[in-house]
Amino acid sequence: MYRLVEHRRIWFLLSLIAILPGIVFMLWNLSTSGTLLPLSIDYTGGTQWEMRFAEPVAPTDVGNVFVEAGFSDTKAFHVEDDRTVQVKFKNIDISQKERIQQAIVARFGEFDERLYRSIGPAIGAEVSRAALLAVIAASILILIYIALAFREISYPLRYGMAAIVALVHDVLITVSFLSIMNLFAGWEIDALFLTATLTVIGFSVNDTIVIFDRIRENLRRYRGAPLATVANRSIIETAQRSIATQVTALLVLAAILIFGGITLRIFMATLIVGLVSGTYSSIFTATPLVVAWEERTARGG
């Protein structure tokens, strides 16, 4: 028999190594910009404007128009092709927009307004609070549900807690992934990231439940066997399913990532990382954790 849960120190260390860059990044971010995470204008407020010109345009030239108009904190970059420029800057009102638009048209010619988003800082702050609340509320509800679903075996709350730890683990992994991508590609946490996170939470819990469900069943079948043995057996028995599910999900997600266009790219990449992490954490975090808890209390008592 494989000794999966016995090697838990290795698995926990691996998780830590994956999460650490995110934590370091968050602390560094906090000391430089005052916020933990690279939040997009959805949460901070600001303006995002994507224009497609007839001819190729250098982003810095477009950005300079904004700087000359008094928006010194402007970021401009290409998206998709060299005719399309996205600009991010602080909030403006409509009269200012017209003025800048005229200046841009005068210099670079007419453009197709692909996307324009402008959101006030107060709304952004409200959305951030609600987002945090949403994640916490979802976690608590899921904890309650698992504790109820596993009420017939001893210590159902432990299973719920282990599932929550696995879920927090997955959120941290996606944040860590995003912070690395922020460093290299300027990716930000936007409203869709929240959607991705909650989906990851859903799937992570789903994966954990599949293994816990097998433990629940095997505990009944092999009465008196140590939990570690039952847990190992349950992981192995469900491994085929985990792999098959993972492959189908990845097929779909990869298809959207590759063919789905730029709007969904960050969303899909986050989901893929979260999904892989979710399967990992159900096997290598949640299940060993339940076993560790049991062994610790057994030794103590």
């Binding site: 709304i123 979802a138 989906t199 266009g261 709007t263």
Partner: protein, 467 residues
Amino acid sequence: MRNQYVLVVVILFLFAAALFVALPIEHPLWLEEGLAPGEDTQRDIRELTLGLDLKGGTQILLEAVISDEQPLPDDALNSAKIIVEQRVNGLGLAEPTVQLQGERRMIVELPGVKNPDQAIETIRSTGQLEFVDPGTDLIIRPGDFINTTNRPTAVAKLQEAVTAGEAAPQSIPYPDEVFNTIMTGDILQTVIASQDEYSFWQIQFDLTGESSGQFFTYTRDHIGDVLAIVLDGRVLSTPVINAAINDNGVISGDFSREEAESLAIQMRYGALPIPLQVVDVRTIGASLGQDSIDRSLQASIIGGALVLLFMILLYRLPGFLADIALAIYVTLNLAMYKLLPVTLTLPGIAGFILSIGMAVDANILIFERMKEELRSGRSLRLAVETGFSRAWPAIRDGNLSTLISCAVLYWFGNNFGASIVKGFALTLAVGVLLSMFTAVFVTRTFMRSFLSTQGRRLLDNRGLLGY
């Protein structure tokens, strides 16, 4: 086993009905009318309803500007909504919507708007109410658009905007006429809708002291003539003057309650009752929307085909039956989107595709379990039954916890104008619910009826089961 055939027929019938709704064809009138109870128009279900991020357009979140000492007057937001609605309807767009959100916000959606900045200006502008003398020769009706001495170029400006596609065409009976403005709406002090002693709805108004003398003189000299009440060039009402009006008057007519209240609000607040500020604007260009549709369609087809193939390769015959169940699942989903209705957004499509993943996962759980049971030496029939019954608790618990996240997401999206998040939660939730039906019930029915007819052949040919 006869029951199984009945179930197969029921499933196929359901599939056919869903396919009929989902297809982009003409649907019978009773269906379209039945879907829009209480509304005077039937709902067109030929196409799916697309969100602004797919068809292009502008979403504006407006917030009432209020100070802490001065709370929002009752109904002020509702009145503002009526005014905004009317202005938005004048923009000449296909299906603009105005929705209240919370206690001090409203969301305006302008699909396909060409000049969003100007549209926002129009919504926030202060309208002007006038009392106009239509003269005795010409007949003007509510809804007509006219020039007045106060706004002598109103018709020309409107025609310009209509040509540019920025305003809806209006009835313009007298494009060259300029009608005489008697007074502007400033003289109105209060306007309310009320019922007279016979419970007919009417509009009661009081005038401010300063200028009522002029109005009195005019009405005294024109008893029996028509007076036109005009807002921003558009005629709202054409009452007949029955008596000289000094400091208050009544407009009576064949009004319904809604008509009377709407007219009172428009007279009262030619201008918005509360200042509105734009707190969130999102414009998606039509070209970006079309790109998104094309790409997500392509991605869905490729991803879907890969999954179907994978299932057959891994599970052979059961995989093939699950693929049929999956096709039914997709059709049921599309039909549900039209019936509920669900407005399809880009994240909504993502939610739908993810729900396909959940549906497939349920089948994988069942089939893996089936293989395990077969390996441990159970008979085919027993292995199939145990596969389904033993996999069920995991499927149920997993799906329910996903539904919990969906509920939280939906609440979040609904309360914070994050309609993208809401769309995602809705399609994922609908998908998860339907998948429990197709992945478990439909696949099981197919498996059972297949076993009862072809069970022996299946045992001889174990490759068909893929284990």
